[in-house]
Amino acid sequence: MNSVTTEAHILVSMTYASRANPNVSAKDFNEILQQAQINNAANGITGMLTFNKDYFLQTIEGPRAQINRLLYSLISDERHHDLQIIETRELKHR
């Protein structure tokens, strides 16, 4: 069964906040952005990311299964910690 195509009709938006790990450098931030752009384009994910030296605040939108797969990798990403979902909801359009 192809779960990706069967679940792809549900569009969700997810917003989270997290704390940057103290050893994350400006170079890391650039890498994060570039990596995110490439991965998200491939997975049909759009969104916005804002950060300063202490926090990340991101909204991502896309197919429900893909957004949740991204959540898994975000939770285990060691460049930040204390990830808190602020909101997740179904969307009619992006």
Partner: protein
Amino acid sequence: MESVDLSESNRLKMLHGEHIILRLTYISRYNNDNLNGEVTRILEQAQQNNERNGITGALVFNHNYFLQSIEGARPVINGLLRKLVQDERHHSLQVIECREVEQRHWSKWSMKYLIPSEENKGLALKFSTGSEFNPYLMSTNQITMLIDTLSELQEQQAKSDVQTIQKKKPWYDFS
């Protein structure tokens, strides 16, 4: 200066969002190799932890899926989510909905267990396109409505059970 310390600790908690009630609904697939005995153990342990952490909610499960709605302080709910994602007793967890609420919906239960029965089998069809129950194909509204409907049915069942017991009691029974 007790009061100063107290307000300071409250302020620090507010910084973490502990004053915000968050409700999070997720679905996951149950790992079939689990023994029934383990499920009972998981549920008992969850109940204790939830009570201690001020988490309330409802859990629907059958032999394939979990559907759970949990509510509590935002950092507490998110701490639980991080644990759930790593829990190997289920997989493919998907957050369906997560939002800030003014009041709890499941405040009476540290966890209300809802087990679909033969009688309410039709509910799966009511909220699905196919006859087979698969929450991964259901929308946010369908999932939350299914949980609410199961909960209402269970309440009604409990009420009618009480009435039946009362009716069966013979008039001469004074016990």
